[in-house]
């Protein structure tokens, strides 16, 4: 059956005055191999259908043949911009199944690297978003700061992108000497630069014109579609798993002071130093999602500072990773963690041997990208990269 005759697809019954445009999978602004089929009437998009699966690497099937410790690198390559958070999610769910608690020092270390990776991930999101909209310079500024984070991570575990650092049971190695000072210095360097980003993007008139009122995602729709993370908080829904999640995860953040970045009564927490919400911005539009990420960077910097102190003050070791042949008790466990792009969940079913029975990764961007077809309806062609960029997707995570 020809695709044009299938009523379920966006290409159905296309008229001669409409255009069918294929955006991707190779495209400069789709953040990976995403294929968007757009049906347009000139510049106005009448329908959009995202097609994924170009980066499917069968990670879940492979997980049925490897021990949990061996499967950690596969989680790295899901959201490769936030590998620490992916590792953390997997390590926590395995430990939840085993009911294995990591010592206090290890917990603080995990928070430290996870939040640093959140900063790095949001920097990429911000930089590439500017690039999508035609502003080339913030991209390089963001990567300049991200280079410093990557250097820090390289000192910790030897890798710049896919760390495999947080493993079930602990971490692969403790921090090197002098790393805490390096990290503190990096935070000092990052703070004034955030103002530059705001000046170049957040309060730039052209940026506001391109993002305010574009791609408005109502809060209820976001929840119904399963959107999570900055996409959900940008629509005004107050949910952050670091505060609201399962005790097995929120205990990691016990004793940390941080605010959930969501708009309440027209204000964001701790936004007094940063540009105010412009009049044209509607809650749930691209600007709000972008702004949430910017404020989360500052928030994460604060958490990292606290973690540095807590780690230095804690005694003991950081936990021992479990062995490869460690028998997993039969049962199942599901745990979601607050990754930079949303709620990343892992579902683990075991049958008593050292190899899991079923491994399932619930990707945060999977639900976020499914909303694209609704958001892109009725917008202009130039808004499509703005919307897709504001959802901040990584195809590695969506396709696994």
């Amino acid at each position: 059956m020809s695709i044009i005759n299938d009523p379920r697809v966006v290409e159905f019954n296309i008229r001669t005055d409409e255009m069918l445009i294929n955006m991707g999978p190779q495209h400069p602004s789709t953040h990976g191999v995403l294929r968007l089929v757009l049906r347009t009437d000139g510049e106005v998009v009448l329908g959009a259908a995202p097609h994924i699966g170009y980066l499917h690497r069968c990670a879940e099937k492979i997980g049925e043949n490897l021990a949990p410790r061996q499967w950690v690198p596969y989680t790295d390559r899901m959201d490769y911009l936030a590998s620490m958070n992916m590792n953390l999610g997997w390590a926590l769910v395995v430990e939840k199944l085993l009911q294995l608690e990591v010592p206090e020092k290890g917990r603080h270390l995990r928070v430290l690297v996870a939040e640093l990776n959140r900063i790095a991930s949001h920097l990429v999101a911000m930089g590439t978003y500017g690039l999508d909209l035609g502003s080339f310079t913030p991209f390089l500024y963001a990567f300049r700061e991200r280079e410093k984070i990557l250097d820090l991570f390289e000192q910790v575990c030897g890798a710049r992108l896919t760390y495999s650092y947080i493993v079930p049971g602990g971490v692969t190695g403790d921090l090197p000497q002098g790393w805490l000072q390096n990290c503190a210095q990096f935070l000092q360097e990052l703070e004034p630069v955030v103002d530059d980003y705001h000046a170049l993007l957040t309060s730039n008139a052209i940026f506001i014109k391109r993002t305010a009122g574009v791609g408005v995602l109502p809060g209820e729709m976001a929840v119904n579609y399963g959107c999570t993370g900055p996409v959900l908080r940008g629509s005004g829904i107050d949910q952050d798993l670091r505060r609201d999640g399962e005790p097995w995860y929120t205990s990691l953040y016990d004793g940390y002071q941080f605010a959930v970045i969501v708009q309440k009564e027209g204000h964001y927490p701790q936004d007094h130093d940063y540009p105010a919400v412009p009049a044209e911005a509607v809650l749930g539009d691209c600007w709000h999602r972008f702004y949430v990420r910017m404020l989360e960077v500052v928030q994460s910097m604060d958490i990292v500072r606290q973690a540095l102190d807590k780690y230095a003050a804690a005694a003991g070791d950081c936990g021992t990773p479990i062995k490869l042949n460690h028998k997993l008790p039969p049962g199942e466990a599901y745990l979601e963690t607050e990754a930079p792009k949303g709620q990343m969940g892992f579902y683990l079913v075991t049958d008593g041997s050292a190899i899991p029975w079923r491994v399932r990764a619930r990707s945060s961007c999977f639900a976020n990208v499914s909303v694209t077809s609704e958001l892109c309806r009725g917008c202009l062609l130039a808004d499509v990269p703005a919307i897709v960029g504001s959802l901040d997707i990584v195809l590695g995570e969506i396709d696994r």
């Binding site: 379920r8 579609y225 399963g226 107050d238 199942e332 579902y347 079923r358 399932r360 999977f366």
Partner: protein, 177 residues
């Protein structure tokens, strides 16, 4: 916080036989539900004040089949498929796990996919999750608006995550291994 006895009683009281069983003593307690009542139960869970499970986090398929005959003989269960629904509420901050058990082939005719009603009318997010379970595990969701493969190519044959899946030797002339 999670499913407990009061919730199970409430559901049993309302839906009777559709609540097949409940396992409350595990790390993540679950409630097993019959396929026929799935949509009504989900709608109730979403809309009932005090429950308000407004977010569907994940739908997973788990294939219980031992390909090794010795292990199959020792197993406590017969081969079956389970579709697992993880729900949560942004309002009450609670979580719930639902399971639906179905046979691996519809009426045990090999090649005919088992059917489970679709909950995409209750949570729009189920749309893509169900497409993925259909694609990788081979469960047909009745009432789904657009049940097509999502991760594998449209013309792929077979359902890869099944335990007895054999990958094809050639795909469009490209040799697999």
């Amino acid at each position: 916080m999670v499913a407990d006895a009061t919730l199970v009683d409430r559901l049993r009281h309302r839906f009777g036989d559709h609540i097949v069983s409940a396992e409350l003593e595990t790390i993540d307690p679950w409630v097993e539900v019959a396929p026929e009542g799935l949509v009504d139960i989900c709608r109730y869970l979403r809309d009932e004040p005090g429950l308000q499970y407004d977010m569907l986090n994940c739908i997973s398929g788990v294939d219980y089949l031992h390909t090794d005959p010795k292990k199959a003989a020792q197993a406590a269960w017969q081969p079956h498929l389970v579709v697992v629904y993880h729900l949560s509420s942004t309002i009450t901050r609670q979580r719930l796990v639902l399971k639906v058990t179905t046979s691996r082939w519809r009426q045990d005719v090999a090649g005919e996919l088992p059917e489970v009603p679709s909950v995409s009318g209750v949570w729009r997010g189920a749309d893509w999750h169900e497409r993925e379970v259909y694609d990788l595990m081979g469960v047909r969701f009745t009432g789904h608006p657009d049940l097509r493969r999502i991760l594998c190519p449209e013309d792929w044959i077979g359902h890869p995550l099944r335990k007895d899946y054999q990958p094809p030797e050639y795909y469009h002339g490209i040799r697999d291994h």
